[in-house]
C-alpha cells in the first residue's frame, strides 16, 4: 500500500515538473522578461542590475530553480495589468471558482447517480431512454454552446434567470448546469453499466430467489457493489470540472480562475497566467492522487496491479 501511494506520488511530482518546465520554457522562449519590465530609457546598468536581482544572467536550469522556488512560495511576479503581486489577483478569484465547481459537482451526482440506477433497473423504459439520450448528448454537446443556448432560452427568451456574473443563488443555476452537464452524463454512464453488471450477478439472483424485495435488492445489494466505479470517478470529475471552469466562466463572465486565465492570455499577463496554470495543476494532481489512494483503499485488487 505504501509502495503504491509512493509510486503515485512520484508520478504526480513528475507531471508537475513537466508542466512547470513547459510553462517556464515557453515563458523564456517568449524573450527576456527585462524587455517587458524595462523601458527604453533604462541604462545598461539597470539591465545588468535586474539581471543580477532576478538571476537572469544565470544558466537556464538555475533560472528555473529560482522561478520554481518563488512559485512554491506563491510569488509568480507582478501582474502586468494590475501592477500588484499576481498572487493577490489569483487569490481573490479562488472562491468563485470553488463555489461553481462544488455546485456542478453536486448536480452531477444528484442527477447522474439516480438516473444511472433507474436507467439500468428499468431497462428499455422511458427512464432508460432519458438516461441514454443524456449520456449520448453529454459526450457530443459542446459545453460552451450549451451554456450560450441556456442563456438564450432562460435569460433572453423566458427571462427567468440571470445570464451571468455572480449574485444571489439564481446566478449559480445556469453556470452550474453548464459545467455539470457533461460530468452528470459520465456519472450516469458509469453507474448504468456498473449496475447492469451487478444486477446480472449470482448474488443478486440469489437475493431475488430468497424473496428480497426489489427495492432492497437495488439499493442494498446492487448499488453497494456498483458504487465503486462511480465513486472513484467522482474524484476524477472534480479535477475535470476545475479545468472545465475555463469554458464555463468565459460564457458566463464568472469572476473565477478560468476567466482570469483567459483574460490573462489577451492581456499578455504572463505572471498571472503561469500562476493560475500551476495552481490548477497542483489542485488537479492532488485530487487525482487522492482518488487513486481512495480507490486502492476501497478496492484491494487495485493495489496488486
Amino acid at each position: 500500500m505504501a509502495k503504491y501511494i509512493g509510486r503515485r506520488l512520484l508520478y504526480s511530482v513528475a507531471v508537475l515538473f513537466v508542466t512547470s518546465i513547459i510553462v517556464f520554457g515557453l515563458s523564456r522562449a517568449a524573450g527576456d522578461p527585462r524587455h517587458i519590465f524595462l523601458t527604453e530609457y533604462s541604462t545598461q546598468a539597470d539591465w545588468d542590475a535586474w539581471g543580477k536581482q532576478y538571476g537572469l544572467d544565470k544558466p537556464f536550469i538555475i533560472q528555473y530553480i529560482i522561478w520554481m522556488g518563488n512559485a512554491a512560495r506563491g510569488d509568480f511576479g507582478t501582474s502586468l495589468r494590475d501592477h500588484v503581486n499576481a498572487r493577490l489577483v489569483i487569490q481573490e478569484r479562488i472562491p468563485a471558482t470553488l463555489q461553481l465547481t462544488v455546485g456542478s459537482f453536486i448536480m452531477a451526482i444528484v442527477v447522474g447517480l439516480p438516473l444511472g440506477v433507474m436507467s439500468a433497473v428499468k431497462r428499455g423504459t422511458l427512464w432508460d431512454y432519458i438516461g441514454r439520450t443524456w449520456a449520448l448528448l453529454g459526450q457530443a454537446l459542446p459545453p460552451y454552446w450549451l451554456g450560450v443556448m441556456l442563456v438564450l432560452l432562460f435569460a433572453v427568451v423566458l427571462d427567468w434567470l440571470p445570464s451571468g456574473r455572480k449574485g444571489d443563488w439564481t446566478h449559480y443555476v445556469l453556470p452550474a448546469v453548464t459545467l455539470g452537464w457533461g460530468a452528470a452524463s459520465g456519472m450516469l454512464r458509469l453507474t448504468r453499466s456498473a449496475m447492469l453488471e451487478v444486477l446480472d450477478s449470482e448474488y443478486v439472483k440469489l437475493a431475488r430467489a430468497k424473496g428480497v424485495g426489489m427495492n432492497g435488492i437495488i439499493w442494498k445489494h446492487a448499488l453497494k457493489n456498483a458504487i465503486i466505479a462511480p465513486l472513484t470517478y467522482s474524484g476524477l470529475l472534480l479535477g475535470g470540472l476545475l479545468t472545465g471552469t475555463v469554458i464555463t466562466e468565459t460564457v458566463f463572465s464568472w469572476p473565477g480562475l478560468g476567466r482570469l486565465a483567459v483574460t490573462a492570455v489577451f492581456n499578455n499577463d504572463f505572471p498571472v497566467l503561469t500562476g493560475v496554470v500551476l495552481l490548477v495543476t497542483v489542485i488537479y494532481l492532488t485530487v487525482n492522487l487522492m482518488t487513486d489512494v481512495l480507490y486502492a483503499v476501497i478496492d484491494p485488487r487495485i493495489r496488486l496491479t
Binding site: 513537466v18 457530443a140 454537446l141 438564450l152 468565459t250 490573462a264 488537479y284
Partner: protein, 302 residues
Amino acid sequence: MTITSEIIKPIDDVSKGRLQTAYGWFRTYPVLPVAIIVILLIAVAFAELITSHDPERANTLDDNEIAPFWDSKGSTEYILGTDHLGRDVLARIIYGTRISLLVGVSVLVVGGVVGTSIGIISGYFGGNVDEVLMRLVDMTLAVPFILVALVVAIILGNSLTIIVILLVMFFWTAFARQIRAETLQLKTMDYVAFSRISGASDIRIMYKHILPGVFSTLIVISTLTIGTVILVESILSFLGVGVPGPTPTWGAMIADGRNYLTTGWWIAFFPGIALLLTVLAFNFLGDWLRDTFDPKLRQLVR
C-alpha cells in the same frame, strides 16, 4: 453508451413492405451518420460551388443581423441569416467545415502514426520500455490540457499548425493505450512465433505481423476520437486561441454570436447544431464500426 448495440438483424422476408425494409436498413446500418458525413465532405470539397457568399466579408455594408429566411424580416438571399458584420451564416458554417475536418483528420493521422508506433513498441517489447512509455501516457493524460493550450497561445501565437501539434501531443494517447493492449494479445500468436523462428527481425514482425492485426482497431479508434478532436478544436476557437480570424471556425462563430443573443440568436445557434450533428455522426459511426468489426474492443473502451 451505445444505441446501436440494440441492433436487430432484419429478416429477409418478401412479404415485408418496402417501408419496413427501409426501416430495417435504417436500424442495421448507420445510414444517418454516413449521410451527415457525406454532406460534410461535400461541403469541404465544393464550398465555393454551394454558396456564392464570401464567408469572410459582407456583401454590402447594411446587411448585418438579417434573420433566417422563414422570419418575416429574413430573406432567401441569406438562408440562415447574417451575423453582426453582415456575413452569411450558412456560408461561414460551410467554410467552417474545412477547418474542423482538416484539424480532425490531420490530428488523427499524425497522432495515429505516433500513438500506434508507441503502442506497438510498448506492447511488443514489454518490460522497461513498456513501463516508461505507459507512464508517459499517464503523465500526458494528467496535464490540464486547455490551460497548457492557453499558455502556448500566449507565447507562440495561434495558427493552424500550432493547434494541430498541440492536439496531437494530447490525442496520441488514445491510440497508444488500445494498440498496446491489442499488441499484447497478438504477440502470443503462433504465426508471430513462427516468424521469429524463421529469423525475422523485431521490426519486420512489428511491421508485417502486428500492424495488420491492429488495423481494424486503428480505424475504430480514429472514428471514435475524431468527434472529440473536432469538439476540442472548437473549444480552443471559442476561447479565442484557435485558428485566427477572419477564417471561419464554428467555435469562433459561437463566441461572436454570444454577444448578440438578444438581437440575433441564429448567429450562435446554427454553428452549434452543425458541431453537434458532426460529433454525433462520427460517434455513432464509430460505435457501429466497433460493434461490427471489433467486438472485443467493447471491453477495452469504457
